[in-house]
Protein backbone atom coordinates (compact mmCIF):
# COMPACT_ATOMS: atom_id res chain seq x y z
CA UNK A 1 0.00 0.00 0.00
CA UNK A 2 1.36 3.28 -1.00
CA UNK A 3 1.17 5.58 2.00
CA UNK A 4 2.87 8.44 0.28
CA UNK A 5 0.77 11.53 0.29
CA UNK A 6 1.84 14.24 -2.06
CA UNK A 7 1.92 17.90 -1.25
CA UNK A 8 -0.95 18.44 -3.63
CA UNK A 9 -2.96 15.77 -1.84
CA UNK A 10 -2.36 17.43 1.50
CA UNK A 11 -3.63 20.65 0.08
CA UNK A 12 -6.71 18.89 -1.27
CA UNK A 13 -7.29 17.26 2.11
CA UNK A 14 -6.90 20.56 3.90
CA UNK A 15 -9.28 22.33 1.54
CA UNK A 16 -11.72 19.43 1.67
CA UNK A 17 -11.86 19.64 5.47
CA UNK A 18 -12.69 23.32 5.24
CA UNK A 19 -15.25 22.79 2.50
CA UNK A 20 -13.09 24.84 0.17
CA UNK A 21 -12.49 22.24 -2.50
CA UNK A 22 -13.82 23.15 -5.91
CA UNK A 23 -16.97 21.53 -7.27
CA UNK A 24 -15.07 20.03 -10.11
CA UNK A 25 -12.50 18.31 -7.87
CA UNK A 26 -14.89 17.32 -5.15
CA UNK A 27 -16.38 14.23 -6.81
CA UNK A 28 -12.99 13.06 -7.97
CA UNK A 29 -11.47 13.56 -4.51
CA UNK A 30 -14.28 11.70 -2.81
CA UNK A 31 -13.93 8.85 -5.26
CA UNK A 32 -10.24 8.70 -4.43
CA UNK A 33 -11.03 8.69 -0.72
CA UNK A 34 -13.16 5.60 -1.34
CA UNK A 35 -10.37 3.87 -3.19
CA UNK A 36 -7.28 4.97 -1.21
CA UNK A 37 -7.11 4.14 2.50
CA UNK A 38 -3.89 6.13 2.87
CA UNK A 39 -5.67 9.24 1.73
CA UNK A 40 -8.41 8.49 4.19
CA UNK A 41 -5.87 8.12 7.00
CA UNK A 42 -4.19 11.35 6.04
CA UNK A 43 -7.55 13.02 6.06
CA UNK A 44 -8.31 11.73 9.52
CA UNK A 45 -4.98 12.83 10.86
CA UNK A 46 -5.27 16.29 9.48
CA UNK A 47 -8.79 16.48 10.82
CA UNK A 48 -7.46 15.52 14.24
CA UNK A 49 -4.94 18.36 14.04
CA UNK A 50 -7.73 20.67 13.11
CA UNK A 51 -9.77 19.52 16.08
CA UNK A 52 -6.86 20.02 18.44
CA UNK A 53 -6.37 23.54 17.20
CA UNK A 54 -10.05 24.31 17.28
CA UNK A 55 -10.17 23.09 20.84
CA UNK A 56 -7.21 25.17 21.83
CA UNK A 57 -8.08 26.68 25.18
CA UNK A 58 -8.74 30.35 25.00
CA UNK A 59 -6.41 32.36 27.05
CA UNK A 60 -7.69 35.06 29.27
CA UNK A 61 -6.39 38.51 28.67
CA UNK A 62 -3.78 39.11 31.39
CA UNK A 63 -5.10 42.60 31.90
CA UNK A 64 -7.40 45.13 30.37
CA UNK A 65 -6.03 46.86 27.31
CA UNK A 66 -8.28 49.88 27.52
CA UNK A 67 -6.77 53.11 26.32
CA UNK A 68 -6.30 56.39 28.08
CA UNK A 69 -6.38 59.71 26.25
CA UNK A 70 -2.65 60.05 26.82
CA UNK A 71 -1.98 56.72 25.10
CA UNK A 72 -3.62 57.84 21.92
CA UNK A 73 -2.38 61.40 22.09
CA UNK A 74 -5.83 62.72 22.68
CA UNK A 75 -6.16 65.67 24.98
CA UNK A 76 -9.55 64.87 26.31
CA UNK A 77 -12.66 63.38 24.94
CA UNK A 78 -14.97 65.88 23.45
CA UNK A 79 -18.52 64.85 23.02
CA UNK A 80 -19.38 64.09 19.43
CA UNK A 81 -20.47 67.07 17.51
CA UNK A 82 -24.04 67.34 16.70
CA UNK A 83 -24.62 66.55 13.13
CA UNK A 84 -26.15 69.46 11.39
CA UNK A 85 -27.16 70.03 7.88
CA UNK A 86 -26.22 73.62 8.28
CA UNK A 87 -23.16 73.50 6.09
CA UNK A 88 -24.87 72.59 2.81
CA UNK A 89 -27.69 74.95 3.61
CA UNK A 90 -25.29 77.80 4.22
CA UNK A 91 -23.56 76.97 0.99
CA UNK A 92 -26.73 77.24 -1.00
CA UNK A 93 -27.82 80.30 0.93
CA UNK A 94 -24.55 81.97 0.06
CA UNK A 95 -25.07 81.21 -3.60
CA UNK A 96 -28.64 82.46 -3.49
CA UNK A 97 -27.63 85.65 -1.71
CA UNK A 98 -24.91 86.20 -4.26
CA UNK A 99 -27.39 85.81 -7.07
CA UNK A 100 -29.65 88.23 -5.31
CA UNK A 101 -26.83 90.70 -5.01
CA UNK A 102 -26.24 90.40 -8.71
CA UNK A 103 -29.91 91.14 -9.28
CA UNK A 104 -29.75 94.18 -7.06
CA UNK A 105 -26.62 95.39 -8.75
CA UNK A 106 -28.27 95.03 -12.12
CA UNK A 107 -31.27 96.89 -10.81
CA UNK A 108 -29.01 99.55 -9.42
CA UNK A 109 -27.25 99.83 -12.73
CA UNK A 110 -30.52 100.13 -14.54
CA UNK A 111 -31.61 102.95 -12.30
CA UNK A 112 -28.38 104.77 -12.75
CA UNK A 113 -28.65 104.35 -16.46
CA UNK A 114 -32.07 105.93 -16.47
CA UNK A 115 -33.99 102.75 -16.59
CA UNK A 116 -37.03 101.95 -14.60
CA UNK A 117 -36.51 100.65 -11.14
CA UNK A 118 -37.70 97.19 -10.51
CA UNK A 119 -38.89 95.54 -7.46
CA UNK A 120 -36.16 94.43 -5.27
CA UNK A 121 -36.18 92.18 -2.35
CA UNK A 122 -33.18 92.68 -0.24
CA UNK A 123 -32.49 90.36 2.58
CA UNK A 124 -31.26 91.90 5.72
CA UNK A 125 -30.91 89.98 8.85
CA UNK A 126 -29.26 92.59 10.91
CA UNK A 127 -30.63 95.73 9.52
CA UNK A 128 -32.50 97.62 12.11
CA UNK A 129 -35.37 99.72 11.22
CA UNK A 130 -34.37 101.48 8.19
CA UNK A 131 -35.73 104.67 7.08
CA UNK A 132 -36.04 105.49 3.52
CA UNK A 133 -37.23 108.76 2.40
CA UNK A 134 -38.67 108.88 -0.95
CA UNK A 135 -39.83 111.92 -2.56
CA UNK A 136 -42.06 111.78 -5.46
CA UNK A 137 -44.17 114.29 -7.08
CA UNK A 138 -46.85 112.35 -8.74
CA UNK A 139 -49.48 114.98 -8.72
CA UNK A 140 -50.21 117.38 -11.39
CA UNK A 141 -50.30 121.09 -11.08
CA UNK A 142 -54.02 120.92 -11.13
CA UNK A 143 -54.17 118.64 -8.27
CA UNK A 144 -54.83 119.77 -4.84
CA UNK A 145 -51.94 121.78 -3.55
CA UNK A 146 -49.67 119.95 -1.28
CA UNK A 147 -51.20 116.58 -1.17
CA UNK A 148 -49.34 115.64 1.78
CA UNK A 149 -49.64 112.07 2.53
CA UNK A 150 -48.54 111.16 5.90
CA UNK A 151 -48.06 107.86 7.39
CA UNK A 152 -47.59 108.26 11.04
CA UNK A 153 -46.78 105.16 12.91
CA UNK A 154 -49.89 103.70 14.19
CA UNK A 155 -48.70 101.28 16.74
CA UNK A 156 -45.21 102.52 16.95
CA UNK A 157 -44.37 103.39 20.43
CA UNK A 158 -40.71 103.35 19.81
CA UNK A 159 -38.08 102.47 17.34
CA UNK A 160 -37.22 105.59 15.70
CA UNK A 161 -40.48 107.09 14.86
CA UNK A 162 -40.58 108.11 11.33
CA UNK A 163 -38.37 110.26 9.35
CA UNK A 164 -39.06 113.61 8.07
CA UNK A 165 -39.08 113.92 4.41
CA UNK A 166 -37.48 116.36 2.19
CA UNK A 167 -39.32 119.52 1.60
CA UNK A 168 -41.75 119.55 -1.13
CA UNK A 169 -40.25 120.41 -4.37
CA UNK A 170 -42.58 121.68 -6.94
CA UNK A 171 -45.83 122.84 -5.65
CA UNK A 172 -47.89 119.76 -5.52
CA UNK A 173 -45.63 117.03 -4.54
CA UNK A 174 -46.72 114.11 -2.60
CA UNK A 175 -44.24 113.65 0.07
CA UNK A 176 -43.62 110.15 0.92
CA UNK A 177 -42.34 109.22 4.18
CA UNK A 178 -41.09 106.11 5.58
CA UNK A 179 -41.94 105.57 9.09
CA UNK A 180 -40.23 103.26 11.35
CA UNK A 181 -42.65 100.74 12.49
CA UNK A 182 -41.85 98.56 15.41
CA UNK A 183 -41.25 94.99 14.68
CA UNK A 184 -44.22 92.86 15.12
CA UNK A 185 -42.26 89.70 15.59
CA UNK A 186 -38.85 89.45 17.18
CA UNK A 187 -37.59 87.45 14.30
CA UNK A 188 -38.59 89.93 11.76
CA UNK A 189 -36.72 92.98 10.88
CA UNK A 190 -37.99 94.73 7.95
CA UNK A 191 -37.36 97.47 5.65
CA UNK A 192 -40.36 99.17 4.51
CA UNK A 193 -41.03 101.36 1.68
CA UNK A 194 -43.94 103.46 1.30
CA UNK A 195 -45.54 103.45 -1.96
CA UNK A 196 -46.99 106.64 -3.11
CA UNK A 197 -49.60 104.86 -5.07
CA UNK A 198 -52.37 107.11 -6.06
CA UNK A 199 -51.88 109.80 -3.63
CA UNK A 200 -53.54 112.83 -5.11
CA UNK A 201 -57.02 111.60 -4.70
CA UNK A 202 -58.66 109.82 -1.97
CA UNK A 203 -61.79 108.03 -1.16
CA UNK A 204 -64.48 110.30 -0.10
CA UNK A 205 -66.51 107.52 1.28
CA UNK A 206 -65.88 104.51 3.33
CA UNK A 207 -62.62 102.72 3.55
CA UNK A 208 -64.35 99.63 2.42
CA UNK A 209 -64.36 100.89 -1.08
CA UNK A 210 -60.85 99.71 -1.48
CA UNK A 211 -61.97 96.18 -1.85
CA UNK A 212 -62.79 96.84 -5.40
CA UNK A 213 -59.20 97.39 -6.13
CA UNK A 214 -57.29 94.40 -7.09
CA UNK A 215 -53.68 93.86 -7.62
CA UNK A 216 -52.62 95.07 -10.97
CA UNK A 217 -49.82 93.62 -12.90
CA UNK A 218 -47.31 96.08 -14.03
CA UNK A 219 -46.71 95.54 -17.69
CA UNK A 220 -43.33 97.13 -17.54
CA UNK A 221 -41.68 95.46 -14.68
CA UNK A 222 -43.76 92.38 -14.60
CA UNK A 223 -44.29 92.78 -10.95
CA UNK A 224 -47.58 92.61 -9.30
CA UNK A 225 -48.70 95.76 -7.76
CA UNK A 226 -50.71 95.81 -4.68
CA UNK A 227 -52.38 99.10 -4.33
CA UNK A 228 -54.04 97.73 -1.29
CA UNK A 229 -56.10 99.76 1.03
CA UNK A 230 -53.66 102.48 1.39
CA UNK A 231 -53.72 103.30 -2.24
CA UNK A 232 -57.37 103.95 -2.06
CA UNK A 233 -57.26 105.99 1.00
CA UNK A 234 -54.64 108.13 -0.47
CA UNK A 235 -51.92 107.08 1.77
CA UNK A 236 -48.95 105.07 1.03
CA UNK A 237 -48.75 101.40 0.96
CA UNK A 238 -46.48 100.13 3.54
CA UNK A 239 -45.29 96.74 2.94
CA UNK A 240 -43.33 94.94 5.38
CA UNK A 241 -41.93 91.79 4.15
CA UNK A 242 -40.63 89.18 6.36
CA UNK A 243 -38.91 86.03 5.64
CA UNK A 244 -38.91 83.18 7.92
CA UNK A 245 -35.83 81.10 8.02
CA UNK A 246 -37.48 77.90 7.11
CA UNK A 247 -39.61 78.65 4.17
CA UNK A 248 -38.25 81.84 2.81
CA UNK A 249 -41.75 82.69 2.02
CA UNK A 250 -42.35 86.28 1.72
CA UNK A 251 -45.28 87.65 3.45
CA UNK A 252 -46.02 91.26 3.61
CA UNK A 253 -47.73 93.02 6.32
CA UNK A 254 -49.36 96.09 5.20
CA UNK A 255 -49.20 98.41 8.05
CA UNK A 256 -51.17 101.38 7.21
CA UNK A 257 -51.42 104.15 9.65
CA UNK A 258 -54.86 104.87 10.73
CA UNK A 259 -55.06 108.52 10.35
CA UNK A 260 -54.84 109.47 6.81
CA UNK A 261 -55.11 112.91 5.56
CA UNK A 262 -56.48 112.88 2.16
CA UNK A 263 -58.18 115.02 -0.22
CA UNK A 264 -61.57 113.98 -1.21
CA UNK A 265 -62.33 113.39 -4.75
CA UNK A 266 -65.59 113.18 -6.44
CA UNK A 267 -64.78 110.05 -8.21
CA UNK A 268 -65.43 106.91 -6.42
CA UNK A 269 -62.49 104.91 -5.31
CA UNK A 270 -63.75 101.85 -7.01
CA UNK A 271 -63.31 103.51 -10.31
CA UNK A 272 -59.80 104.50 -9.67
CA UNK A 273 -57.23 102.77 -11.73
CA UNK A 274 -54.57 101.34 -9.66
CA UNK A 275 -51.77 102.68 -11.71
CA UNK A 276 -52.55 106.21 -11.01
CA UNK A 277 -54.87 108.91 -11.80
CA UNK A 278 -55.21 110.79 -14.97
CA UNK A 279 -54.36 114.34 -14.60
CA UNK A 280 -57.88 115.51 -15.19
CA UNK A 281 -59.06 113.65 -12.24
CA UNK A 282 -58.10 116.35 -9.96
CA UNK A 283 -59.87 116.77 -6.80
CA UNK A 284 -61.08 119.70 -4.97
CA UNK A 285 -59.45 119.98 -1.68
CA UNK A 286 -62.54 119.72 0.31
CA UNK A 287 -62.59 117.34 3.08
CA UNK A 288 -59.99 115.83 5.24
CA UNK A 289 -60.85 112.36 6.01
CA UNK A 290 -59.72 110.49 8.95
CA UNK A 291 -59.76 107.08 7.58
CA UNK A 292 -58.77 104.39 9.93
CA UNK A 293 -57.74 101.43 7.97
CA UNK A 294 -57.67 98.10 9.59
CA UNK A 295 -54.57 96.51 8.40
CA UNK A 296 -51.86 94.10 9.34
CA UNK A 297 -53.00 91.91 6.59
CA UNK A 298 -50.43 89.41 5.50
CA UNK A 299 -49.92 89.78 1.88
CA UNK A 300 -47.62 88.07 -0.56
CA UNK A 301 -44.96 90.46 -1.53
CA UNK A 302 -43.53 90.99 -4.90
CA UNK A 303 -40.08 90.15 -4.02
CA UNK A 304 -37.43 87.65 -4.50
CA UNK A 305 -37.13 84.99 -1.91
CA UNK A 306 -34.26 85.79 0.20
CA UNK A 307 -32.00 83.17 1.62
CA UNK A 308 -31.37 83.32 5.22
CA UNK A 309 -29.35 81.53 7.72
CA UNK A 310 -31.09 78.85 9.58
CA UNK A 311 -30.35 80.23 12.96
CA UNK A 312 -33.77 81.73 12.98
CA UNK A 313 -32.37 84.81 11.48
CA UNK A 314 -35.02 86.29 9.49
CA UNK A 315 -34.14 88.34 6.62
CA UNK A 316 -36.55 90.88 5.61
CA UNK A 317 -37.21 92.15 2.26
CA UNK A 318 -39.22 94.99 1.13
CA UNK A 319 -40.87 95.14 -2.11
CA UNK A 320 -41.36 98.32 -3.85
CA UNK A 321 -44.16 97.78 -6.22
CA UNK A 322 -45.64 101.06 -5.28
CA UNK A 323 -42.61 102.88 -6.43
CA UNK A 324 -43.06 101.47 -9.80
CA UNK A 325 -46.60 102.43 -9.43
CA UNK A 326 -45.61 105.91 -8.61
CA UNK A 327 -43.33 105.95 -11.48
CA UNK A 328 -46.09 104.99 -13.74
CA UNK A 329 -48.30 107.55 -12.22
CA UNK A 330 -45.70 110.09 -12.84
CA UNK A 331 -45.36 108.94 -16.34
CA UNK A 332 -49.00 109.33 -16.91
CA UNK A 333 -48.61 112.98 -16.44
CA UNK A 334 -46.70 114.62 -19.11
CA UNK A 335 -44.39 117.23 -17.88
CA UNK A 336 -43.94 115.67 -14.50
CA UNK A 337 -42.06 112.74 -15.73
CA UNK A 338 -38.54 113.97 -15.63
CA UNK A 339 -39.02 115.82 -12.42
CA UNK A 340 -40.32 112.79 -10.66
CA UNK A 341 -37.59 110.56 -11.89
CA UNK A 342 -34.79 112.86 -11.09
CA UNK A 343 -36.11 113.25 -7.63
CA UNK A 344 -36.61 109.58 -7.12
CA UNK A 345 -33.42 108.25 -8.51
CA UNK A 346 -30.91 109.34 -5.92
CA UNK A 347 -33.07 108.19 -3.05
CA UNK A 348 -33.70 104.89 -4.68
CA UNK A 349 -30.08 104.54 -5.47
CA UNK A 350 -29.22 105.11 -1.85
CA UNK A 351 -31.68 102.47 -0.84
CA UNK A 352 -30.18 100.02 -3.25
CA UNK A 353 -26.74 100.77 -1.96
CA UNK A 354 -27.91 99.98 1.55
CA UNK A 355 -29.33 96.75 0.27
CA UNK A 356 -26.12 95.90 -1.47
CA UNK A 357 -24.10 96.48 1.66
CA UNK A 358 -26.43 94.34 3.69
CA UNK A 359 -26.26 91.63 1.10
CA UNK A 360 -22.50 91.72 1.00
CA UNK A 361 -22.26 91.43 4.77
CA UNK A 362 -24.75 88.57 4.76
CA UNK A 363 -22.90 86.75 2.01
CA UNK A 364 -19.58 87.18 3.75
CA UNK A 365 -21.02 85.98 7.03
CA UNK A 366 -22.69 82.95 5.54
CA UNK A 367 -19.64 82.05 3.50
CA UNK A 368 -17.34 82.20 6.49
CA UNK A 369 -19.78 80.14 8.55
CA UNK A 370 -20.03 77.66 5.74
CA UNK A 371 -16.25 77.33 5.54
CA UNK A 372 -16.01 76.93 9.28
CA UNK A 373 -18.67 74.24 9.38
CA UNK A 374 -17.10 72.37 6.52
CA UNK A 375 -13.74 72.34 8.17
CA UNK A 376 -15.17 71.28 11.45
CA UNK A 377 -17.31 68.53 9.92
Amino acid sequence: MNNKISKRDWEAISAYLDGQISERNLARFEARLQREPALRSALNEMDAVRQVLRNAPRLRAPRNFTLTPQMVGQAAYRPPRRKTHLAPFLGWATIAATLLLVFVLIGDFLIVSNAKPVAIAPPSDIVPLQEVALEISPATEAAAPANEVESPPLNAPAAGGYSETQPETSGSAAVLETAAVPETEPAVTAERIFSPAVAPTATPASPQSDVSLSAAADPVTGTTLYPAESAVTGTVALTETAYTADVALATAVTDVPAATTATAAESDAAELPAEGLPAENTAQPTAVLQTPVPTSTPQPAVSLPSPSTSEATSTAAASVPADTNANLAAEDRPGQNSAAETAEKPAFHLLLRDIEIVLLVAIAGMFVSWLFLRRRG
Binding site: N3, K4, I5, K7, W10, E11, I13, S14, A15, D18, Q20, A38, S41, A42, N44, E45, M46, A48, V49, R50, Q51, V52, L53, R54, N55, A56, P57, R58, L59, R60, A61, P62, R63, N64, F65, T66, L67, T68, P69, M71, V72, Q74, Y77, R78, P79, P80, R81
Partner: protein, 208 residues
Protein backbone atom coordinates in the same frame (compact mmCIF):
# COMPACT_ATOMS: atom_id res chain seq x y z
CA UNK B 1 -15.31 38.83 28.07
CA UNK B 2 -18.17 41.09 27.36
CA UNK B 3 -20.37 40.33 24.48
CA UNK B 4 -21.95 43.00 22.39
CA UNK B 5 -25.01 42.83 20.27
CA UNK B 6 -24.61 43.87 16.68
CA UNK B 7 -26.52 47.04 17.36
CA UNK B 8 -24.37 47.91 20.35
CA UNK B 9 -21.23 47.18 18.40
CA UNK B 10 -22.35 49.33 15.52
CA UNK B 11 -23.22 52.23 17.82
CA UNK B 12 -19.93 51.93 19.68
CA UNK B 13 -17.94 51.90 16.46
CA UNK B 14 -19.83 54.97 15.25
CA UNK B 15 -19.13 56.79 18.49
CA UNK B 16 -15.50 55.72 18.44
CA UNK B 17 -15.24 57.07 14.93
CA UNK B 18 -16.45 60.38 16.31
CA UNK B 19 -13.61 60.37 18.80
CA UNK B 20 -15.35 58.74 21.73
CA UNK B 21 -12.56 56.88 23.47
CA UNK B 22 -14.90 55.44 26.07
CA UNK B 23 -16.94 53.80 23.35
CA UNK B 24 -13.79 52.35 21.88
CA UNK B 25 -12.73 51.08 25.30
CA UNK B 26 -15.96 49.16 25.48
CA UNK B 27 -15.09 47.57 22.16
CA UNK B 28 -11.66 46.75 23.56
CA UNK B 29 -13.19 45.01 26.55
CA UNK B 30 -15.34 42.96 24.20
CA UNK B 31 -12.50 41.99 21.87
CA UNK B 32 -9.34 42.06 23.96
CA UNK B 33 -9.39 38.34 24.68
CA UNK B 34 -9.71 37.47 21.02
CA UNK B 35 -6.97 39.91 20.08
CA UNK B 36 -4.71 38.76 22.87
CA UNK B 37 -5.18 35.11 21.89
CA UNK B 38 -4.23 35.88 18.32
CA UNK B 39 -1.18 37.81 19.48
CA UNK B 40 -0.18 35.13 21.94
CA UNK B 41 -0.49 32.28 19.46
CA UNK B 42 1.49 34.17 16.86
CA UNK B 43 4.09 35.67 19.18
CA UNK B 44 4.39 32.59 21.36
CA UNK B 45 5.17 34.62 24.39
CA UNK B 46 3.00 36.46 26.90
CA UNK B 47 5.05 39.61 27.18
CA UNK B 48 5.32 40.13 23.47
CA UNK B 49 1.66 39.26 23.07
CA UNK B 50 0.71 41.94 25.56
CA UNK B 51 2.78 44.52 23.77
CA UNK B 52 1.38 43.55 20.40
CA UNK B 53 -2.18 43.61 21.76
CA UNK B 54 -1.76 47.05 23.25
CA UNK B 55 -0.16 48.36 20.09
CA UNK B 56 -2.91 46.83 18.03
CA UNK B 57 -5.62 48.62 19.99
CA UNK B 58 -3.82 51.94 19.84
CA UNK B 59 -3.40 51.46 16.12
CA UNK B 60 -7.02 50.39 15.76
CA UNK B 61 -8.25 53.49 17.54
CA UNK B 62 -6.21 55.71 15.29
CA UNK B 63 -7.44 53.88 12.22
CA UNK B 64 -11.02 53.48 13.33
CA UNK B 65 -12.21 55.85 10.63
CA UNK B 66 -10.92 53.40 8.02
CA UNK B 67 -13.34 50.75 9.19
CA UNK B 68 -16.02 50.58 6.54
CA UNK B 69 -18.32 47.93 7.83
CA UNK B 70 -18.03 44.18 7.57
CA UNK B 71 -16.63 41.95 10.24
CA UNK B 72 -15.13 44.07 12.97
CA UNK B 73 -13.37 40.98 14.29
CA UNK B 74 -11.65 40.47 10.95
CA UNK B 75 -10.74 44.13 10.84
CA UNK B 76 -9.17 43.88 14.29
CA UNK B 77 -7.39 40.66 13.38
CA UNK B 78 -5.75 42.36 10.46
CA UNK B 79 -4.48 45.10 12.72
CA UNK B 80 -3.21 42.73 15.39
CA UNK B 81 -1.53 40.60 12.74
CA UNK B 82 0.35 43.62 11.51
CA UNK B 83 1.17 44.59 15.08
CA UNK B 84 2.58 41.10 15.64
CA UNK B 85 4.76 41.32 12.56
CA UNK B 86 6.02 44.69 13.72
CA UNK B 87 6.71 43.37 17.18
CA UNK B 88 8.48 40.29 15.83
CA UNK B 89 10.70 42.45 13.64
CA UNK B 90 11.44 44.70 16.56
CA UNK B 91 12.35 41.75 18.76
CA UNK B 92 14.57 40.26 16.11
CA UNK B 93 16.56 43.45 16.00
CA UNK B 94 16.72 43.74 19.77
CA UNK B 95 16.11 40.36 21.40
CA UNK B 96 14.54 40.66 24.78
CA UNK B 97 15.04 38.27 27.61
CA UNK B 98 11.83 36.85 28.90
CA UNK B 99 11.40 37.57 32.54
CA UNK B 100 8.60 35.12 32.93
CA UNK B 101 9.58 31.53 33.69
CA UNK B 102 9.95 29.21 30.76
CA UNK B 103 9.88 25.45 30.63
CA UNK B 104 12.54 23.05 29.48
CA UNK B 105 11.78 23.80 25.89
CA UNK B 106 12.28 27.46 26.54
CA UNK B 107 8.60 28.00 26.12
CA UNK B 108 6.91 30.19 28.57
CA UNK B 109 4.57 28.45 30.91
CA UNK B 110 1.16 29.96 30.60
CA UNK B 111 0.36 31.56 33.82
CA UNK B 112 -2.22 29.56 35.74
CA UNK B 113 -3.25 32.78 37.41
CA UNK B 114 -5.37 33.83 34.46
CA UNK B 115 -5.81 30.42 32.89
CA UNK B 116 -8.15 29.08 35.52
CA UNK B 117 -11.81 29.07 34.76
CA UNK B 118 -14.33 29.24 37.55
CA UNK B 119 -15.91 25.91 38.32
CA UNK B 120 -13.24 23.98 36.50
CA UNK B 121 -11.91 20.81 38.10
CA UNK B 122 -8.16 20.62 38.73
CA UNK B 123 -7.90 17.76 36.25
CA UNK B 124 -9.61 19.71 33.55
CA UNK B 125 -7.48 22.67 34.30
CA UNK B 126 -4.32 20.63 33.96
CA UNK B 127 -5.57 19.09 30.75
CA UNK B 128 -6.46 22.42 29.35
CA UNK B 129 -3.17 23.96 30.36
CA UNK B 130 -1.21 21.08 28.92
CA UNK B 131 -3.13 21.14 25.69
CA UNK B 132 -2.65 24.86 25.36
CA UNK B 133 1.06 24.60 26.04
CA UNK B 134 1.48 21.73 23.59
CA UNK B 135 -0.30 23.60 20.87
CA UNK B 136 1.85 26.61 21.47
CA UNK B 137 4.99 24.55 21.43
CA UNK B 138 4.09 23.19 18.02
CA UNK B 139 2.95 26.52 16.67
CA UNK B 140 6.33 27.95 17.63
CA UNK B 141 8.00 25.45 15.31
CA UNK B 142 6.28 27.01 12.34
CA UNK B 143 7.45 30.10 10.56
CA UNK B 144 5.52 33.31 11.14
CA UNK B 145 3.44 33.20 8.00
CA UNK B 146 2.36 29.60 8.50
CA UNK B 147 1.71 30.17 12.15
CA UNK B 148 -0.40 33.22 11.44
CA UNK B 149 -2.57 31.54 8.86
CA UNK B 150 -3.25 28.43 10.90
CA UNK B 151 -4.11 30.52 13.96
CA UNK B 152 -6.42 32.70 11.89
CA UNK B 153 -8.27 29.77 10.35
CA UNK B 154 -8.17 27.04 12.96
CA UNK B 155 -8.18 29.04 16.18
CA UNK B 156 -10.00 32.20 15.22
CA UNK B 157 -12.35 30.49 12.79
CA UNK B 158 -11.74 32.80 9.83
CA UNK B 159 -12.54 31.49 6.38
CA UNK B 160 -10.04 31.50 3.53
CA UNK B 161 -11.26 34.76 2.08
CA UNK B 162 -11.09 36.55 5.40
CA UNK B 163 -7.64 35.18 6.09
CA UNK B 164 -6.51 36.31 2.64
CA UNK B 165 -7.87 39.77 3.37
CA UNK B 166 -6.25 39.92 6.78
CA UNK B 167 -2.87 38.77 5.55
CA UNK B 168 -3.04 40.61 2.29
CA UNK B 169 -2.24 37.53 0.25
CA UNK B 170 -4.07 35.68 -2.51
CA UNK B 171 -6.53 32.95 -1.61
CA UNK B 172 -4.32 30.29 -3.18
CA UNK B 173 -1.46 31.28 -0.92
CA UNK B 174 -3.68 30.90 2.12
CA UNK B 175 -4.73 27.48 0.91
CA UNK B 176 -1.22 26.15 0.43
CA UNK B 177 0.18 27.80 3.56
CA UNK B 178 -2.62 26.39 5.64
CA UNK B 179 -2.01 22.88 4.30
CA UNK B 180 1.67 23.15 5.08
CA UNK B 181 1.04 24.58 8.52
CA UNK B 182 -1.35 21.75 9.36
CA UNK B 183 1.13 19.20 8.17
CA UNK B 184 3.76 20.80 10.39
CA UNK B 185 1.40 20.78 13.32
CA UNK B 186 0.51 17.16 12.69
CA UNK B 187 4.12 16.17 12.74
CA UNK B 188 4.86 18.11 15.89
CA UNK B 189 1.79 16.90 17.74
CA UNK B 190 2.63 13.31 16.89
CA UNK B 191 6.12 13.79 18.21
CA UNK B 192 4.93 15.10 21.52
CA UNK B 193 1.98 12.75 21.53
CA UNK B 194 2.48 11.67 25.09
CA UNK B 195 2.32 15.28 26.20
CA UNK B 196 -1.06 15.69 24.64
CA UNK B 197 -4.16 14.94 26.64
CA UNK B 198 -5.35 11.44 25.85
CA UNK B 199 -8.33 12.64 23.90
CA UNK B 200 -6.10 14.34 21.41
CA UNK B 201 -3.43 11.72 20.95
CA UNK B 202 -3.18 10.18 17.58
CA UNK B 203 -0.65 8.10 15.76
CA UNK B 204 0.48 8.43 12.24
CA UNK B 205 -0.30 5.89 9.63
CA UNK B 206 0.82 7.89 6.72
CA UNK B 207 4.19 9.10 5.65
CA UNK B 208 5.01 12.02 3.51
Amino acid sequence: MQTLSRMDEFALIRNAQNGDLEAFNRLILAYQEMVYNQAYRVMGEADAAEDATQEAFISAYRKIHTYRGGSFKAWLLRIVTNACYDELRRRKRRPVVAIEPTDDYDNEIESPRWMASPGESPEDFVTRTELSASIQRCLNTLSEDFRTVVVLVDIQGMDYAEAAEIMGTPLGTIKSRLARARRGMRKCLQNIGELLPAAFRFSSEVSE
